[in-house]
């Protein structure tokens, strides 16, 4: 079961936030193919998100081939997002540690680093938006 | 499924809503009016015994007692009629009441039907009680009473019902127009008393063509108008009995000289008087009641139209 959260201050549309949370759950292995997603009504009742928004997120994920709606029984996970190879993960992490060290040496504080990462990420997100 | 569906919000529903919102006020007022009626009946009984032992013409006091009906009508106008719509606007509850599946005008019809019916019943009770009280007056040694006088004329159920419904309708209409309770109450009170005064002073005597009596000049004056009748007009008339209008011939009884000769010289053959005889009082009461009811209907129509306009909320 996934618990959805909407970051209301984020500029990212709510349905994309939901879609991203499903992707995240797939990537982390919380959701596996064949798993049933909560019904739209359940998501509305638990997280206070508009039904149309949930529906839009599910449709977006169906289009991406990650979910499928089965008539009358709900929405199910169809495919998984390959978890990242642990080796690749380690390599990325090592790179990030180096990068953070470099940033600290340049005088950046945690907040600055957050802001920088955030700005790079939001730029990336912007391109995700159809 | 717990959903209940109906095809129409019926009159019964509207009456129930009116009853449930005004229940306390209806019960308290009815109780008070009933109590006052019983109390007055009891008091008047002893009062009559006491007054007749004093041989004192106390009917005037009793008349005042009988004005309870008018007081009730005034209260119905100010405390039921005026706030009926005005308070809804003031407390914004009209947005609740009229926002359901019932139009404002149908809602109003339900409220008016219930409170109007209660008003009419209580007014009729007040009218009966005050009528009964006045009937005791002759037993007190006064042969007759002037039935057209204020508080005597009104001491009858039909007049009480008419004027109470008029007061109520006036309150409803003024409340719908002003949308403010206190001003509506004030205007209703003043308006009701004003209309009552106008009818009593200038209207009542014209409900039917008056009876005319004529007396040629004679050494002895006889009363032209019976004691219990309502005098309308009087003056000099010519030989054909036709009134000669208000003319000043300068015949005023100066220097102790009878002006009759002077008047006769100007063509006046005698005196005449127009009046409404006491026998007509019941008919007049019905007429007055009818006038009040027509006015009330007009005012309710105005309120109904005003609510339907929905130009402002």
């Amino acid at each position: 079961m996934v618990e959805f959260r909407i970051d209301k201050a984020s500029g990212l549309p709510a349905y994309l936030q939901l879609a991203r949370q499903v992707r995240e759950a797939l990537r982390l292995g919380w959701l596996k193919p064949g798993d049933r997603l909560p019904t739209v009504r359940d998501v509305v009742a638990t997280s206070g998100v508009n039904a149309n928004t949930v529906l839009k997120a599910y449709r977006e994920l169906e289009r991406a081939g990650l979910l499928e709606a089965r008539q009358g029984s709900g929405t199910f996970v169809k495919a998984t997002l390959g978890s990242v190879d642990p080796e690749v993960m380690d390599r990325l992490r090592a790179k990030l540690v180096d990068w953070v060290d470099e940033a600290r040496a340049a005088g950046l504080e945690n907040e600055d680093i957050d802001a920088l990462v955030g700005s790079v990420l939001t730029e990336g997100e912007r391109i995700e938006v159809p | 499924m717990t959903t209940v569906t109906k095809t129409r919000v019926g009159g019964g529903d509207l009456l129930w809503v009116a009853w449930r919102t005004h229940r306390t006020s209806i019960l308290v007022t009815s109780g008070l009016v009933a109590l006052a009626a019983v109390g007055m009946a009891v008091v008047s009984r002893y009062f009559v015994a006491w007054a007749s032992s004093l041989n004192y013409p106390t009917y005037r006091v009793l008349e005042q007692f009988s004005s309870i009906g008018l007081l009730f009508a005034l209260a119905a106008g100010m405390f039921w009629g005026a706030p009926l719509v005005a308070r809804e606007y003031e407390l914004r509850t009209h947005l609740l009441a009229w926002g359901q599946d019932v139009s404002a005008s149908r809602w109003l019809a339900g409220q008016v039907a219930l409170l109007g019916a209660v008003t009419a019943c209580l007014a009729a009770l007040a009218g009966v009680v005050s009528g009964v009280m006045l009937e005791r007056v002759p037993k007190m040694g006064v042969d007759t009473i002037r039935v057209f006088e204020r508080n005597v004329f009104e001491a009858a159920p039909q007049v009480q019902v008419g004027c109470a419904l008029f007061a109520f309708a006036l309150g409803v209409a003024v409340g719908a127009l002003t949308r403010r309770t206190l001003p509506a109450m004030a205007i209703t009170g003043i308006g009701f008393l004003g209309v009552g005064e106008v009818l009593a002073r200038w209207g009542r005597e014209h409900y039917l063509p008056p009876v005319r009596s004529f007396e040629a000049w004679s050494p002895v004056h006889h009363p032209l108008v019976p004691f219990t009748a309502l005098p309308v007009d009087s003056g000099y008339a010519d030989a054909n009995g036709v009134p000669m209008g208000d003319q000043d011939w300068g015949c005023g009884g100066r220097n102790g000289i009878e002006p009759v000769e002077c008047l006769r010289a100007h063509g006046a053959a005698g005196r005449y008087a127009d009046y409404q005889p006491a026998e007509r009082v019941e008919l007049f009461r019905w007429i007055e009641s009818g006038i009040f009811l027509v006015l009330a209907a007009g005012l309710l129509l105005l309120a109904w139209y005003w609510l339907r306009r929905a130009r402002r909320v």
């Binding site: 909407i6 209301k8 201050a9 984020s10 500029g11 990212l12 549309p13 709510a14 939901l18 739209v40 009504r41 509305v44 009742a45 206070g48 998100v49 508009n50 039904a51 149309n52 529906l55 839009k56 449709r59 709606a69 008539q71 700005s119 939001t122 730029e123 912007r126 391109i127 938006v129 159809p130 | 717990t2 959903t3 209940v4 569906t5 109906k6 129409r8 919000v9 529903d13 809503v17 449930r20 919102t21 306390t24 407390l91 914004r92 509850t93 009209h94 947005l95 609740l96 009441a97 926002g99 359901q100 599946d101 019932v102 404002a104 809602w107 306009r309 929905a310 130009r311 402002r312 909320v313």
Partner: protein, 284 residues
């Protein structure tokens, strides 16, 4: 709930309403598809209440017209959340049951019980927030297909706001009702509403699907500059000592080079930008 074909819910054409001394609504035209949850946003006196009251049928417009779905059942919760103060919530529900063609007592009562509203205390002794719940319970009990809410959250504390919104959304998800909700609290709307109606001085500034509206705009941020590096209509700009911000309407995501960045526009950015632009326009 499978693929939903959107049908027209409310069609508003040239709606206008004036009062003796002011114009409350001017030539308002928009369509709201059925089943949408729309936020009606604008400054005080923008005409939000007038629009809702006209749609509720309680107020006659001076100009224009609107059409609802055939058989639409409208419930309106007015800004004042009016309830009869001398009656208890239980009796208020009884009144509503009598005055409505459709009534679901269990739903209405469950709403009050869920929020711990005493059913037998007179409404005059309830708090503003509790009275709001009574007014909402009346609306929900009447099973509307169009729910008009005027500042429904204003008297509620933050926790209650979240819960009420969540439960309202559940109710409308069940019934498929269309919702129009006026509010000041723009920051809490993301994910809650999917449609926007933005009013200023009685005029409709923007309306449409929320995601589409926001996706059609970007916030361009960079060093202080006279002009936006992105082509498109600049709806709003702001210039600080070392920084300039432009809200630009653009059909595609523009690519800019450093030091400029392009940020997605949040609902709050969008609303505040459009509203402050009209304020400037008024002064000029």
């Amino acid at each position: 709930m499978t693929a939903v074909v959107e049908t027209a819910g409310i069609a508003v054409r040239g709606l206008g309403k004036g009062y003796r001394s002011s114009v409350a609504l001017r030539d308002c035209t928009f369509d709201l598809p059925a089943g949408r949850v729309a936020a009606l946003v604008g400054a005080n006196g923008a005409g939000k209440t007038t629009l809702l009251t006209v749609l509720s049928g309680l107020l006659r417009p001076d100009a224009g017209e609107f059409t609802l779905r055939p058989g639409e059942r409208v419930a309106f919760v007015a800004q004042e959340k009016p309830v009869y103060k001398h009656l208890t919530p239980r009796v208020v529900l009884q009144l509503a049951a009598r005055l409505n063609l459709v009534w679901d007592q269990a739903r209405a009562q469950a709403w009050l019980e869920r929020f711990d509203i005493p059913l037998d205390r007179r409404c005059g002794q309830l708090s503003g927030g509790q009275r709001t719940q009574v007014a909402l319970a009346v609306a929900i009990g009447s099973r509307p297909t169009l729910l008009l809410l005027d500042e429904p959250l204003a008297d509620l504390d933050p926790l209650a706001r979240t819960e009420v919104m969540r439960d309202l959304l559940s109710e409308v998800a069940d019934s498929g009702a269309t919702v129009v909700m006026s509010t000041h609290i723009v920051t809490e709307l993301s994910g809650v509403v999917d449609h926007l109606l933005l009013l200023a001085h009685g005029t409709l500034l923007a309306d449409g699907d929320l995601d589409e509206l926001l996706a059609a705009h970007v916030m361009v941020v960079g060093p202080r500059a006279q002009e936006s590096p992105v082509r498109g209509e600049v709806l709003w700009d702001k210039h600080l000592d070392g920084q300039s911000l432009f809200l630009v309407r653009t059909p595609t995501t523009p690519v800019v080079s450093a030091p400029w960045v392009v940020r997605p526009v949040s609902l709050e950015d969008y609303v505040l930008a459009l509203l402050s632009a009209t304020r400037k326009g008024d002064v000029a």
